[in-house]
């Protein structure tokens, strides 16, 4: 039967101290194994799975194994694990091997290698994601995109209104300061989120490029040199598009949520936000409401 392309998980799980267990009996063609085309590569091949066959007991060659696992059960566990990993990744939570065993694999721990192998195969074929062991020491896995990293992914949905936490964070900082925010101040805040100018981030990519170029091109931010300062320093202002699309009240709500405080904790800003909201209600809704220059608190 055709060989499966080695998956990164193969090597990874070999390092785990999963007790050595005999492989489940080789699945006969036409049952539940995916039909792998010999020329495997980036070209797509459909994942074909027959409807669940009547469960077959696998012949354990090791007499000490009391628990049987049929091919159907293996596949079901692999599907459960696939979903589990996808949801954990969606929530940006750590995918921890002991959790996998506790929450999904359970008493089938002896077959964790086969289950993991099947799961990573499905994830690669259907989602284009690699289940990779990122740290043997902490036994953490991560879902890594197998497709070309595409920085535009995150802005694909954001062109209309990038209400990403990142942009809101910067806009809030500028708003609270009441004037431009120096780049150094912005990085101080972003550092709290674990973002550094020199580090590539799994979601945001090149953060510095994102905030100094992309957000600026989209008119959400302005990035300008501070006059008369040597060596050169830069500061951020609200862009015209931010002023049009984002209200001060939204910024106050964001601040309240993030810092778990009442918006009244920023009294003059909150008053300003209420003023703007009232003005918007009264005026023509299409009117551009410029951010008024405010004095510092």
């Amino acid at each position: 039967s055709p060989k499966l392309a080695p998956s990164p998980v193969h090597a990874s799980i070999a390092l785990f101290s999963c007790p050595r267990s005999p492989q489940p009996k080789r699945e006969t063609p036409g049952s539940l194994s995916p039909q792998v085309k010999p020329s495997q590569g980036p070209s797509p091949s459909g994942l074909r799975a027959a409807p669940p066959a009547p469960s077959r007991r696998h012949q354990a060659t090791d007499p000490s194994i009391s628990l049987h696992m049929s091919p159907a059960q293996l596949v079901q566990k692999a599907h459960e694990l696939m979903w589990y990993v996808l949801v954990k990744d969606q929530k940006k939570m750590i995918i921890w091997f002991p959790d996998m065993v506790k929450d999904v694999i359970g008493s089938y721990k002896k077959w964790c290698r086969s289950i993991l192998r099947r799961t990573s195969l499905i994830l690669a074929r259907v989602f284009g994601l690699h289940l990779r062991l990122t740290s043997l020491h902490t036994m953490e896995f991560a879902l890594v995109k197998a497709l070309e990293p595409e920085e535009l992914d995150r802005v694909a949905l954001s062109n209309r209104m990038p209400m990403t936490g990142l942009l809101l964070m910067i806009l809030s900082l500028i708003y609270v300061k009441g004037r431009g925010a120096r780049e150094s101040a912005v990085w101080n805040v972003l550092r709290i989120l674990g973002l550094r100018p020199w580090k590539k981030h799994s979601t945001f990519g090149d953060v510095r490029k994102l905030i100094t170029e992309e957000f600026v091109q989209q008119n959400y931010l302005k990035y300008q040199r501070v006059p008369y300062v040597e060596p050169p320093e830069y500061e951020f202002f609200w862009g015209s598009r931010a002023s049009r699309e984002i209200t001060k009240l939204q910024i106050m709500e964001f601040l309240a949520r993030v810092f778990k405080k009442d918006p009244q904790a920023w009294p003059s800003r909150y008053r300003e936000a209420l003023e703007e909201a009232r003005a918007l209600r009264e005026a023509n809704p299409a009117a551009h409401c410029p951010r008024s220059s405010v004095s510092e608190d």
Partner: protein
């Protein structure tokens, strides 16, 4: 369910990226889904014609079927906006939530869910939910804490709050409809038009059948004398407008500023 011939679709990198991004965002409105689809084509297959969204998604779903997951399309109950999410069909519990919340928080959600399903209006009052705090499984939870947990549910789009009352978010209905119908088969309400789960809607005062607000809008569109499809009695409620995505985009109303135009109709 699917037709008798199960034609297995083919996954390309366009579909894979689409799935990845849909999963990342959790739940998306149709306009965003269309843009996502166009983006994925642009990245991987510039010259190809973009499939009609319905065909595109059916193609992916035919591959996902064997994995017991599906890209499901639903419609928000209050204003008829189409939404999409990747859901697990094999689940028998509220699985996507399970990773986010502690045992007692999940139980609070279950209690709120039961009250919502049993209610006449599809809304459960904050007071009634909080009164059940003593019955929760797991660590003991104070009422004050429970209030914050309810807000967490709202922020994560599992519940919607209106004037101190809670109902299910469109996302929760999309992801949990199967679970709800299996768990509360006697208490669930069904829409007379689309036969899906109904939480909020309008009901006929004579025969009691219920309809979703968007289903009412479509069914009675440009009908001067709306009558109950079941008993033919005069339909006593205000007929909402059919959701028009084109109108939405033109007016450029920011979502968070837009007040719901519908009022509850019971």
């Amino acid at each position: 369910m699917q037709g008798s011939t199960r034609r297995m679709g083919v996954m390309t990198d366009v579909h894979r990226r689409f799935l990845q991004l849909l999963m990342t965002h959790g739940v998306l409105e149709e306009w965003d889904v269309k843009r996502l689809q166009r983006h994925c084509y642009k990245v991987h297959d510039r010259n190809a014609t973009v499939d009609k969204l319905e065909d595109f998604i059916n193609n992916i779903n035919s591959v996902l079927e064997s994995l017991y997951i599906e890209i499901k399309r639903g419609v928000t109950e209050d204003d008829g906006r189409p939404i999409y999410a990747l859901v697990n069909l094999a689940t028998t519990s509220i699985s996507k939530m399970a990773t986010d919340f502690a045992e007692n928080e999940l139980d609070l959600f279950r209690k709120a869910l039961e009250l919502i399903i049993d209610s006449e209006t599809g809304f459960a009052s904050s007071t009634n939910i909080l009164n059940l705090v003593d019955q929760l499984k797991g660590k003991k939870m104070r009422k004050k804490e429970a209030e914050q947990v309810l807000q967490k549910f709202v922020q994560n789009k599992w519940l919607i709050e209106k004037e101190g009352e809670f109902t299910l978010h469109g996302r929760a209905i999309l992801e949990m409809e199967q679970y709800i119908r299996e768990t509360y088969p006697d208490a669930v309400k069904i829409c007379n038009i689309c036969h899906s789960l109904l939480i909020q809607g309008q009901s006929c005062e004579t025969c009691g059948i219920r309809m979703h607000l968007p289903c009412v809008a479509k069914y009675f569109q440009s009908n001067a004398e709306p009558r109950c499809p079941h008993c033919n009695d005069y339909w006593p409620h205000e007929i909402p407008e059919v959701f028009d995505p084109e109108k939405e985009r033109e007016s450029g109303i920011s979502k968070s500023n837009k007040k719901s135009l519908r009022s509850r109709q019971h």
